[in-house]
Amino acid sequence: MHTKFNNKIQIVLGRLMMNQKSLIIFDDKVVDFLNKIFIDIKKNKDAKNFTDLQAFGFWCRKANINVLSENYKRNKLMLGRGNILHIAPSNVPMTFAYSFVFGLLSGNNNIVRLPSRNFVQVEILCKIISNILKKKRYTIIEKKLCFVRYDKSNEISAYLSKNVDARLIWGGDQTISQFKKFDTSPRCVDLTFSDRYSVSIINADKVIKLKQEEIKNLAYKFYNDCYLMDQQGCSSPQAVFWMGRKNNQAKKEFWKHLGKIVDSKYDSDLSIMNQKITSLSRAAIESKINFNLNYKNFKLIKLKVKKTSKNIEDLKCHFGTFIEIEIKNLNELKNIITKKFQTITYFGFDTKNIEKFILNNAVTGIDRIVPIGRAFDIGPIWDGYDIVYSLSRIVGK
């Protein structure tokens, strides 16, 4: 590391290693280390309060990692590309951790820029990892990571960009365009995670066949997808498409249950209320889409849109706001879906039919199809990339 940055860059964990040798993908030592993270998060009292940290820990367990590794054929040699720079988003606490783990699983050395906001769960995780790294057994891992913090600095970002073999750039369009300006080595691979838009599709006729308890359960899963991060996550649905003949009845039941859950669980405050009504008023002025705002409970707002309009993604829906559109069949979506679309969360559909729809209509968006409730389940396949594949060097023979 260049000495002129010494005062500006804070090394939270590890060391700035530039020439550690790469491991093969899913190396046993890495899997062992991840499982230790799983165990230590489970044991940690402070970690108990954070569901996202718990989920990350659970994801790191050996059983899960082994299942993931099945997806990679081992008849060819696959090893890390070298040094990776991870630029984590500032508003989502745990993305940096997954990004780091993907880098590690693909055998690389990792420089991770932590979120600029001070999240408690980030601190807890860093402490846990720091304790694990003190053990001699994990020396090899200790040399493969460096967690840093620095205030927005083009100078530092440019320097780091120049000296790595791959970059994972989270944090949206603006961050990406900034980082693309920096020089990188000719073989440097960039995986960019831009601003995305996600939707839900619900089969109304299947909903009304559910028991009350099951509808409640579905609503609860939907709640987790949307409200846990104020509907700001890129995979949180902002629009709901209803398909089927019994739309009205299904909607009524679904929103009723969701309303109750939101009422008892979602902590709105004056700041959120103000941001929400301000952004809705802005949308009313700017959006070409005609909508009708509808709510009994301000924490759950529906924007009724009559026709399936283009550019619905311009209508920003956050803090519990949903565009609601009725469709007769999936093909009606083909004019709505753009490259910006990331995740479809669904209920009552066969994924094969959704895949068929994507293929037949040569739809440019949609990188992910998961059941409602799994919007935040992050894995090595994200935003249309296989991150482990992309970060590894495959030796052909």
């Binding site: 709105s268 004056l270 700041s271 209320m273 103000n274 301000t278 008023s281 009313a284 002025i285 009708n292």
Partner: protein, 356 residues
């Protein structure tokens, strides 16, 4: 349009809630229709968020504008008769944040001056005398636009016979005119006026060691900039005590107002509560946008009957406060009275007067 002759003939704090409510709603409804017809942004908000113009059954259901929108858009209500926009008002804004833009026509400007005068008649004698302004005359250097401080000074200047500035262009205190005035007119009423943080920074702090001659006939009026005071943990009691111990004035009135609603300010009474006048009204909303009960903190929504050239008649502010009572304040003024606690977190500080 509204019957302003009638409105200006009513005592500003004379109506009880029962007498005021339906009368005020009737007038606000008329004003809402005027802005709906002549302001395209307001019309869109009304249609998309409130389901159209005629859906309300009471004041709280009328379409409001979140105050931040005055920074994002130049909202104008323009019905061919009133395109004589005389000035653009701006909030002074803290550095780096956007300003509110208010397009003021002559008629609205006149209404605002008259309302301000009527509200302050309540605490001033008929004979108004001289006003000493804790600010610099350079505030009027731009003829096209005026910030919140300038607008307030201009408004208050019209209530008095003579205006004297106490700060020079570099904001240094020039207290001699006031001292000379006190020597030659020991029994005459006078007013000291300024933004709260200016009075604190440039008057109180500067003369803390030398008590001025007792100024018993003075009235001090201040407003705005309370955010800055809050940051320094200067409350009402400390502020008032310091005024009395340095300048000697005992009669002190704060007011709450915003550049979007110049004129129809909320006057602080002798017991420390802000009062809505017949020109204004206030609603407190909770995190679910519902009306907060008495004494419960929420976001303040403020109404004014004065704005005609921009949709500032119904605004959701970013200020947190609580309604403290209705019709029964010990000061004797009728109507709603409230207190202010601070600004909603997570929004950039707007502070009209936190200017420099």
């Amino acid at each position: 349009m509204l019957d302003y002759k009638n409105i200006f003939s009513i005592g500003p704090f004379s109506l009880s809630k029962k007498e005021k409510d339906s009368w005020y709603y009737f007038n606000q409804k008329k004003l809402t229709a005027h802005h709906f017809k002549n302001c395209k942004e307001y019309k869109k908000i009304t249609n998309k968020i409130y389901g159209g113009l005629n859906k309300s059954t009471n004041l709280s259901e009328l379409p409001f504008i979140p105050s931040h929108l005055f920074k994002d858009y130049n909202l104008i209500t323009n019905n061919n008769n009133n395109n004589d926009f005389s000035k653009t008002l701006t909030s002074s804004g803290t550095s780096g944040s956007k300003n509110s833009m208010i397009s003021l026509d002559r008629k609205t400007s006149l209404l605002q001056s008259r309302a301000l005068s009527i509200i302050f008649q309540d605490i001033l004698n008929k004979k108004r005398g001289t006003m000493f302004v804790v600010d610099s005359p350079k505030i009027f250097s731009d003829s096209k636009s005026l910030n919140a401080r300038g607008a307030a000074i201009k408004g208050f200047s019209q209530l008095v016979d003579k205006t004297v500035f106490l700060l020079d262009k570099d904001l240094n205190l020039k207290i001699d005119p006031l001292i000379n005035f006190l020597k030659t007119n020991p029994n005459e009423q006078f007013i000291v006026f300024g933004f709260t943080s200016f009075i604190w920074e440039h008057l109180i702090k500067k003369i803390k060691n030398k008590k001025l001659i007792s100024a018993n006939n003075g009235i001090l009026i201040h407003g705005g900039g309370w955010k800055k005071m809050q940051d320094q943990a200067v409350g009402r009691t400390l502020f008032n005590t310091k005024i009395t111990s340095t300048v000697g004035i005992k009669k002190i009135h704060n007011y709450y107002g915003m550049v979007e609603q110049t004129g129809s300010v909320f006057l602080e009474c002798e017991h420390g509560f802000f009062h809505s006048s017949i020109f204004s009204d206030i609603i407190v909303r909770d995190a679910a946008l519902k009306i907060s009960p008495l004494k419960k903190d929420g976001l303040l929504q403020v109404f004014s009957l004065l704005p005609l050239s921009y949709p500032g008649h119904n605004i959701l502010t970013e200020d947190i406060g609580a309604l403290q009572g209705v019709d029964n304040c010990n000061c004797g003024r009728k109507g709603k009275y409230f207190s202010i606690k601070g600004r909603v977190p997570g929004t950039e500080t707007r502070g009209c007067s936190d200017a420099h």
